[in-house]
């Protein structure tokens, strides 16, 4: 029996969020609107890869079955991934990638800030680093949201489409099941509702500056934490896991 099943599950969720959004961002490598932006998106991806590796390694230690970061990231199937549906949504358009990053980073920045106070030293240590990086991710994506929203008619329409499409995936960030609440009670996890007002504040202020209208409260998609994903996840894992599945001993 694992020492701490809840902590393992919690770390795996966070690790999967980071791994999947980094893979989505990496898809822009060589394709972004201009060279600087290409570098920016892959830099953000790199930070998320760093978080994922730390979290997978730690989860593997908690599990104690000898699974390392490679086993946990590259040798699991869709149903075992517990990432948010938001981070797996496709890059259909640059505006989609920017809006996805903005909605996620607006949550992750206060999340890591709060996690610095965790009683779990590993998570608190990672949070101290990740919070600084997330501040950059938020600033970068927020500036783009404003530039696109307050730009041309075309850019405004595209970022509006992205916002309206992605909005239904934002509710999942604030879900608090047994895993989260038991760890919140121990002072290990962050209660997502305790930072919701910060997320709302950031989103409202940036959308206002971007001349964008916040979508009305609507039905929220759910399922990612339980392994129920959109059809996109398998198509992300396929190229992401190809190398380690072909060469099972390959190291990150």
């Amino acid at each position: 029996m694992m020492k701490d099943q809840a902590l393992f599950t919690y770390c795996m969720r966070l690790a999967d969020d980071s791994a999947i959004i980094s893979q989505r961002l990496s898809e822009w490598c060589g394709h972004a609107s201009h060279l600087e932006e290409d570098i920016a998106l892959t830099n953000v991806a790199l930070d998320h890869i760093g978080h994922a590796r730390e979290l997978y390694t730690y989860a593997g230690q908690i599990e104690g079955k000898g699974r390392d970061e490679n086993a946990l990231c590259f040798h699991r199937v869709e149903r075992e991934f517990a990432n948010l549906l938001l981070v797996e949504q496709p890059n259909d358009d640059f505006a989609y990638a920017i809006m996805r990053q903005f909605l996620f980073s607006a949550f992750m920045h206060p999340f890591w800030e709060a996690m610095k106070a965790s009683k779990d030293e590993q998570l608190a240590g990672l949070a101290a680093k990740a919070e600084k990086e997330a501040a950059y991710h938020l600033r970068h994506s927020a500036e783009w949201v404003i530039r696109l929203g307050d730009g041309t008619e075309e850019s405004h329409n595209r970022i509006t489409d992205a916002l309206e499409f992605l909005w239904m995936y934002t509710g999942e960030m604030f879900e608090c099941d047994e895993v989260v609440s038991s760890l919140v009670a121990k002072g290990v996890a962050v209660d997502p509702m305790s930072i919701k007002h910060l997320w709302v504040e950031t989103v409202n202020s940036v959308l206002t500056r971007a001349n964008l209208e916040r979508p009305a409260q609507s039905w929220m998609q759910t399922g990612g934490r339980g392994g129920e994903h959109s059809e996109h996840l398998g198509h992300i894992l396929s190229p992401m896991q190809y190398l380690q599945r072909s060469f099972p001993q390959a190291q990150w």
Binding site: E36, E37, I39, A40, N43, V44, L46, D47, H48, I49, G50, H51, R53, E54, E121, A124, G125, L126, A128, K129, A130, K132, E133, A135, Y136, L138, R139, H140, A142, E143, T202, V206
Partner: protein, 169 residues
Amino acid sequence: MAIAAKNLTNPLDQKAWDAVCDLPDPEVPVLTIEDLGVLRSVHVQEDGAVTVTITPTYTGCPAMSMFAFDIEAALLSAGFKKVDVKTVLNPAWTTDWLSEKAREKLKAYGIAPPNGKASRRALFGEEQVCCPKCNSANTSRISEFGSTACKALYRCNDCSEPFDYFKCI
């Protein structure tokens, strides 16, 4: 020295520290791992095995495996038999650990050193960054992200020089 990483209590620790402290950063070769504050501690155990602790500037920094490799090679060639390089995240690396000397070296190399203290957290604050060539403060940001995770891209509006800025975190 601006960082408090060094805590060497015996001559063997000192010897091991000296063997690795001048290893350069592969991306910013004017800075050593000691200048950067990436090198946190060196300890030689009774059986002669060396434990070196390093910390990344950014969690995903791809230079970390290169640092570990270089450290191991340097210690083996200095006569140590067994080397263990550990990576820690806590305390979190900050540009505040860069010494004055390191900042001058960066500037001479053409990279604007981090500006001020790392506590600034505004969503839309503009940092005032000076051109490392002509010292003008009339510069503009080209991109928040540069050629490596630790740098941003700027341009001098006076002398037209594009340059890297070592981000303040």
